[in-house]
């Protein structure tokens, strides 16, 4: 057991006094606010005649018993003159009573009802106006002390040195959120908010201690923790305040997401300590923008349906990673930039709604994460766009996904893509395309959108072409990267040429021609000529793209000749199987592809000449 230091002893005494005060206040409140029984005041008996006179002497009837009134002759000095008069007066009183305004009989019924329900018990408070109950008081007093304890002596929680600073920061946040239980306006207006905030901080505390325990070397200054964790919580509380109708889902979100989000923030802090020291990752900055966007997505109908909690968490981690490394993407000197993360999520959700399999809602988070990763690697190019960069990335996502859909749906019955690509492969393909395209300045912006879309569509269409199954998904991903690179280097040559459909673009024709020719090589079953598949086919396709991009005008004219070149080389391999393997086939293809696309001539490619090239 740790030694009791003078400071700890002093704190213990203060805490006991405070808890004693809270307990006393709670007990007193319980005693003074308890319902009490109180008897009605004693009431004397009244004679029937006295009651009858009082009834008719009431201001509303008085003129009838006054001299000259229609009932005056029934009375003598406040008493009925005889039994007959008494009976008449009683009948008249009953008649009047029956015709009395509803307030009288209604009041009687109401009185009986009140007596029946209250049973003479008087309560202190109207239900909707009562102060926090004794238990609330005690709990709040207890929380107050616990968090002061945590702030003063966090080591006592066993959290280690990293936990000390975290707990101090959290305690400072919580104490500022605790209600003043003696202020009705504050309590009644915000009691739900406080309960929500207190629970939120508890969730964050638990998550933070877990991180501190896992990463004892984590060093963040207490005030940085305070700022960063405040930035994590404030967007949540802001949504809570502004959208009361969303509170049930917010409570669920808090319980499911907030802890992992806190862990993600702290893990990011561990990975990028310098970023945490930077001002722009602190309050009102990148972290706040990213957090607000993800929380917004988690509570907004359309996005909430698209992204699962786990997916949002992965997006949050990815976005934090970007924000920590490139806070300037999210904030500038004047504050938060356009809500980029929100735009990315919206673009993904909107585009995936009509995307072909496997790009459905299930891959939404993966695509969004891929987009955020693409951002991270291409900051200089994006920054060049100034404030517009926030619009460019969602547009890029849209063009890639819609371009892919367009290419794949050229033949809706074709299931090649689904057969070739697992979900992970599909995401990797999109990720590769996004990354390559995002780092090409010329392909970013409104003017390049058509080119981007037809470039991706060409890849998509090639995937459905005959012969596409000779490649693995990893080959397709490399090929997509090569196509994007060449397209970037050679604007408007391979794709994006106006007035041409996807099938007419040079890139599409090049890929489809070679794939179809490769497929032909397998028509007769396995033989010495069945070399063109896998790596060999991928490389030959990449070589074809390069050659076509370098000489687009003539390539457009002679691209069909590539099938002849493939057939010539396959024939050579069939006839000279002992001399021609994959390496040799590819060697010869590399030597002739550019010339074939330039001239369209293959007449000089005899067996002898080609074999001579191998030995020469």
């Amino acid at each position: 057991m740790a030694a009791l230091t003078p400071e700890l002893f002093a704190f213990a005494v203060r805490s006991i006094v405070r808890l004693g005060g809270a307990a006393r206040a709670a007990w007193e409140q319980g005693v003074r606010d308890q319902p009490i029984k109180l008897a009605d005041l004693p009431q004397p008996p009244i004679s029937d005649d006295a009651a009858l006179w009082a009834f008719f002497y009431d201001a509303s009837q008085r003129q009838r018993v006054a001299p000259g009134g229609d009932l005056a002759h029934f009375w003598d000095d406040g008493k009925p003159v005889d039994a007959e008069a008494r009976d008449h007066l009683r009948r008249e009183a009953l008649r009047l009573w029956a015709e009395a305004p509803g307030a009288q009989t209604g009041w009687l019924q109401g009185r009986l009802r009140e007596e029946g329900s209250s049973l003479g018990v008087l309560k202190q408070w109207a239900a909707e106006r009562q102060p926090p109950g004794p238990l609330d008081r005690l709990a709040l007093g207890f929380a107050d002390v616990v968090f002061e304890f945590a702030a003063a002596h966090p080591v006592a929680l066993g959290a280690g040195s990293g936990g000390e600073r975290l707990v101090s920061a959290l305690a400072a946040n919580l104490r500022s959120l605790l209600p003043d239980v003696d202020d009705p306006a504050d309590w009644q207006r915000q009691s739900a908010r406080y309960a929500f905030a207190e629970r939120s901080l508890t969730v964050v505390l638990r998550a933070g201690l877990a991180v501190a325990a896992e990463q004892p070397g984590l060093f963040i200054r207490s005030e940085q923790y305070q700022s960063v964790l405040g930035e994590l919580l404030q967007p949540l509380l802001r949504v809570f305040d502004e959208h009361p109708q969303q509170r049930p889902s917010l409570a669920e979100l808090r319980d499911v997401l907030l802890g992992p989000m806190a862990r993600a923030v702290l893990a990011t802090a561990a990975a990028h300590p310098a970023a945490f020291a930077g001002r722009r990752f602190g309050a009102d900055t990148a972290l706040g923008a990213v957090t607000a966007a993800v929380l917004d997505a988690a509570t907004t109908g359309e996005l909430h349906e698209t992204f699962t909690a786990d997916g949002l968490l992965r997006i949050y981690r990815a976005a934090l990673d970007v924000a920590a490394q490139r806070p300037g993407l999210f904030v500038d000197e004047t504050g938060a930039r356009a809500d980029v993360v929100r735009s990315v999520l919206s673009a993904v959700a909107a585009t995936l709604a009509s995307a072909p399999p496997p790009f459905g809602g299930g891959l939404a988070a993966d695509v969004a994460v891929a987009a955020l990763a693409a951002l991270k690697g291409n900051v200089p190019g994006l920054m060049r766009l100034g404030a517009d960069w926030g619009k460019v990335v969602p547009a890029l996502i849209e063009d890639v996904l819609q371009g892919l859909a367009e290419g794949l749906q050229a033949d809706p019955a074709d299931l090649s893509f689904e057969h070739l690509f697992t979900n992970d492969d599909a995401v990797a393909l999109v990720s590769t395309l996004l990354r390559e395209l995002a780092r090409t300045p010329g392909l970013l912006g409104e003017a390049a959108r058509g080119e981007v879309r037809s470039l991706v569509a060409a890849v998509g269409m090639a995937v459905t072409a005959k012969g596409s199954q000779l490649l693995r998904s990893s080959d397709w991903i490399e090929l997509a990267q090569a196509a994007a690179t060449e397209a970037a280097r050679n604007p408007l040559r391979l794709a994006g040429v106006a007035q041409r459909g996807v099938g007419e673009q040079l890139l599409t024709r090049t890929l489809v021609t070679v794939l179809n020719a490769a497929d032909q090589g397998f028509a007769g079953g396995r033989s010495a000529a069945t070399l063109l598949f896998g790596d060999t086919l991928r490389e030959s396709l990449a070589l074809s793209i390069q050659a076509a991009a370098g000489n687009a005008a003539r390539a457009n004219q002679y691209v069909g000749t590539l099938a002849t070149l493939v057939a010539v080389l396959n024939g050579l391999a069939l006839r000279h199987g002992e001399r021609i393997g994959a390496r040799e086939w590819l060697f010869l293809y590399r030597r002739h592809v550019a010339a074939v696309l330039d001239t369209g001539l293959t007449s000089g490619l005899t067996d002898e000449a080609l074999l001579a090239e191998l030995t020469g």
């Binding site: 206040a25 004693p42 009705p184």
Partner: protein, 250 residues
């Protein structure tokens, strides 16, 4: 540690809450006993009826008033003053009513000090504000009972009754209606308190009729009709104040 906690609790004044709780429980038990005795025979209920509870109510009132001086929380103090006042008027005894008057005056002042934007003690303050009317009723009722019990009143009793009757409406209905608007305008107050106060308003009205009846029989001044005319402002404002609701019994 436990010692420290206990000591802190005691130092903080938990004795006040303990006393309050105990006195309130005694008051409730005494009221229950009085009500059960009023509606059941001793033998049937096995109750110790017949004893004068007044000194017991007075004792509760005096002790509550004394403990109130030690209460640190103004709302607890108000609660104790409310208990002193209610026990005082329930006693019907002279010294009990004196305590009730003092507690009511003290309590009303404390209630006025509660910030309007703070959590106060709406029921207790309502009862304390109404207490002067209740105390006036209890005092007047004692005289009326005495009058109803005699067929040959002496001059002293006639003078006492005349005095009690003359001031009754002003001291009860007049006094209570002056504070009712404030009480009715308090949204924090539980409806059961307003229902209770409404019932006492009818009691004031019916008691006025009883006073008027005796005044008429004894030929006192103010006379029967003069006393009944004092009710006019209240019967106009509250239609439920009708003799039919008092119930003729004699």
């Amino acid at each position: 540690m436990r010692f420290l906690a206990c000591a802190a609790l005691l130092i903080a004044g938990c004795q006040t809450a303990a006393s309050f709780s105990s006195l309130q429980a005694s008051f409730s038990s005494l009221q229950d006993l009085r009500q059960r005795c009023a509606t059941a025979t001793d033998a049937a209920q096995g109750l110790q009826c017949g004893a004068d509870e007044a000194p017991l109510f007075v004792d509760i009132a005096q002790r509550a008033y004394a403990v109130a001086n030690n209460a640190a929380d103004p709302r607890t103090r108000i609660g104790l003053l409310r208990l002193a006042a209610t026990a005082g008027w329930e006693s019907g005894a002279t010294d009990g009513l004196a305590v009730a008057e003092a507690a009511a005056a003290d309590g009303q002042a404390r209630c006025a000090e509660i910030p309007t934007n703070g959590f106060g003690a709406p029921r207790d303050c309502a009862l304390l504000r109404m207490a002067p009317a209740f105390i006036a009723h209890v005092r007047a009722y004692a005289v009326l009972r005495q009058a109803l019990a005699t067929s040959a009143p002496d001059a002293a009793l006639r003078a006492k009754l005349a005095s009690a009757a003359a001031g009754y409406v002003a001291n009860t209905l007049g006094s209570s209606e002056r504070v009712r608007s404030r009480i009715d305008g308090d949204p924090s107050l539980h409806a059961s308190v307003r229902a209770f106060l409404d019932r006492q308003r009818l009691t004031f009205y019916c008691t006025t009729i009883a006073f008027a009846d005796v005044a008429g029989q004894w030929r006192l001044e103010p006379g029967r009709d003069a006393l009944l005319r004092q009710l006019d402002p209240y019967t106009v404002a509250h239609p439920e104040l009708a003799a039919g609701n008092c119930g003729g019994t004699a």
